[in-house]
Symmetry: C2
Subunit: 420 residues, 2 copies
């Protein structure tokens, strides 16, 4: 009858797969396509920013020494010798009593050491020659953005492993990265098992359910920054199933099967692991949901047997698969971000094993609050829809009151952390 399996603690299960992590690959892609990818090289300033001294305002570039005699009743006049906009290069050096009309972002002409904003200047013409005058003293360097004052040449700007958001993309564009070196997306194979599974476009039939896990896992893989390859549903027959699994394992970086890992009479996966010669790292974890999660190593590849139960499958992916994908992607903080939160509703159920409760995080006056996102039955698929966190209730606890402090793993946080 039922094979005896020894459950191991969650943390130990995480460690066993983590020890079998593999580094990822890199590739160059167009800056246009780099959103949400992770940098595979440090971004270092190839030039100072700004790369020339420039004006922060529309105004006049002058020599501050020429203004030292200026005062409320003593305007000083300047002959305007040039007029430059942003992107133009001043051609004339300023000498005593000369000014250059200059626009925001334009390069400071040689000889000038300050900018007088339009607001404090009077302009006039004599003949066709423009002049301006001011009635106050200026300091050397006033209103000038010096070369390199924002970023010095050679400055380390963004470390590799960083996810590319709009701000990072702006930095890449500034420094001319038309092609960006990023981590290559690992490919995760997905195979469903279970004769009860219908395709999503099939009519419901007695005794059967539609295959939601394959779509859910594909979406989780995508959210984790990887690509997926779906190999369909295993036939209820060992020889053909073995061939499908072996082929998939050969083609992908990591393989996930859903279902078929129990000790039920029709669960083929244990036999397939045998045939593959895979080393089973664990086949039972002391947690709810997901106690029948299996992980195995075959050559240098990880093979996960996640539960056929949607919630267990979901949790198993986030705990055991996601960190290894993040590692391959070069994230130095590959584990789900774990934070403290206040439990907003009582959770009176006892927890003989560590329980991961699908939860929703809100913010009340700067305080994180966690609410279970649905009835916590293993089979209730709808509670996953609102989950943005997993509450971690340690095994051996007897239930929690509203207001208790709990730990939660954030599912939509890109930052992560260094340890489980």
């Amino acid at each position: 009858m039922a094979e005896l399996r020894k459950p191991i603690p969650v943390k130990e299960a995480v460690e066993r797969v983590w020890e079998n992590r593999q580094d990822g690959y890199t590739e160059y892609i167009s800056i246009t396509d780099c959103d949400n990818r992770r940098l595979a090289e440090d971004i270092v300033a190839a030039h100072p920013v700004p790369s020339f001294p420039k004006s922060p305002y529309d105004g006049f570039a002058i020599r501050s020494e020429d203004t030292q005699v200026a005062g409320r009743n003593q305007p000083v006049s300047f002959k305007v010798i040039e007029h430059i906009g942003a992107g133009q290069v001043p051609e004339k050096r300023l000498h005593e009593g000369e000014a250059t009309r200059i626009m925001t972002g334009a390069q400071i002409p040689a000889g000038a050491d300050c900018i007088a904003m339009f607001e404090i200047c009077q302009t006039y013409e004599e003949g066709d020659q423009p002049y301006m005058s001011i009635k106050r003293k200026m300091d050397s360097g006033q209103n000038i953005i010096e070369e390199g004052s924002e970023v010095a040449e050679g400055e380390m700007l963004i470390p590799k492993g960083t996810i590319i958001n709009p701000g990072v993309k702006a930095v890449l564009a500034t420094f001319g990265y038309s092609e960006v070196k990023v981590s290559k997306k690992p490919v995760v194979g997905v195979i469903a098992t279970g004769t009860e599974l219908l395709d999503v476009d099939e009519e419901l039939q007695p005794g059967k359910i539609r295959n939601s896990n394959a779509y859910m896992i594909a979406s989780q893989i995508t959210r984790a920054g990887a690509d997926y390859c779906y190999y369909g549903k295993l036939k209820d027959e060992l020889e053909a199933s073995y061939a499908t699994v072996a082929k998939a394992l050969d083609e992908v970086d990591i393989l996930i099967t859903t279902g078929g890992v129990s000790v039920g009479d029709f669960d083929l996966m244990p036999d397939i692991y045998d045939r593959l010669g895979a080393e089973v790292l664990f086949n039972k974890v002391a947690m709810r949901p997901g106690s029948v999660t299996t992980a195995a190593v075959c050559g240098d590849k990880l093979l996960y047997g996640l539960s056929g139960n949607p919630s267990a499958c979901y949790v198993g992916f986030e705990l055991f698969v996601r960190p290894l994908l993040q590692h391959r992607l070069g994230n130095q903080q590959p584990f789900l971000k774990r934070v403290k939160a206040e439990l907003a509703e009582a959770f009176p159920k006892a927890n003989p094993f560590t329980r991961f409760v699908r939860s929703y995080i809100t913010y009340e006056n700067g305080q994180l609050q966690a609410v279970p996102s649905g009835i916590d039955k293993s089979n209730v698929v709808t509670s996953l829809a609102y989950a943005n966190a997993l509450m971690v209730l340690p095994g051996g606890t007897r239930g929690f009151k509203a207001g208790d402090e709990v730990e939660v793993l954030l599912l939509e946080n890109q930052e992560g952390q260094g340890e489980f």
Copy 2:
């Protein structure tokens, strides 16, 4: 000289563009491609879940009444008449003293009203006939997941406007949505202005900078759930520029230009608004950065003139453009999520106008903390790379101490809120 512009409060600027919002469109897409899109219809349970009574365990389906005489020293025996796995439909009705061997997820046979798990059963054979016996009483309904016990038929599951995450996708698959009705992505046109701008693949030249804003805005548009269309850089010539803007405005849902909206001598946009007959909603906002942000309406389309300064451009997009995109996408909470946080570092600068400080949010013991993500100069592009929030420091305040409570707008939060 400088045209006089009257700055309006940020909130009023947001309201003026919000009054000109347009509803979006919908489309059907394959479930395979629906990640991160927003539902354009309510998802209602088309059938109960489960759609048949099923077993949560591997075990034997029996009639509880047959176990009423069982006890520790009094085993009751059952003849095993059928053996069914998940997905199989039981063919035999149970009568007194009969049992069906049943796997997790399989349909309960007619006649049975409880499941005895393998762990409490003894199995044996007489001839080729399998039997099992148990030594305890079972209750009617014990270990049976009743039809509809997870979701009742007709139950409202997920409202339209919800973003499709892995859990939502699982629900869609469960109910057979091979095609999903989602909000169509609005298309935002992007035009850069400024003779100082080089393309990202060009060598740096004196007086010039690379065009980072167009790439940054494209990435912000993508993050906001919309598509972008880049029309390149305007020539420094009114006629051609007008033609480009008019063509773009005709082709997109919303048009953004960056730069050229100051009152500098070479800023063309004000003249182009005139030529288009666009109604300018505002051209100066009492905020830093981004005071020279412009918004205008032309027909039923919004036309934004964001600052050429990267930080001002970034903030202008998030405050004034993003909510209208979210509205078009059917998000009932289209504004950036605003939460309270503790300021982790002093921000001693006075704020004559409302200041939006690019910040990084962290969690310390369940408490949100905000740290400025870089020196807060308008031109410092690198501070955007680490920003996941904008701290809102009200105008008229004299600086803030570490530990002060501040409001922050979360940039990577998908939830949003109903009001600015």
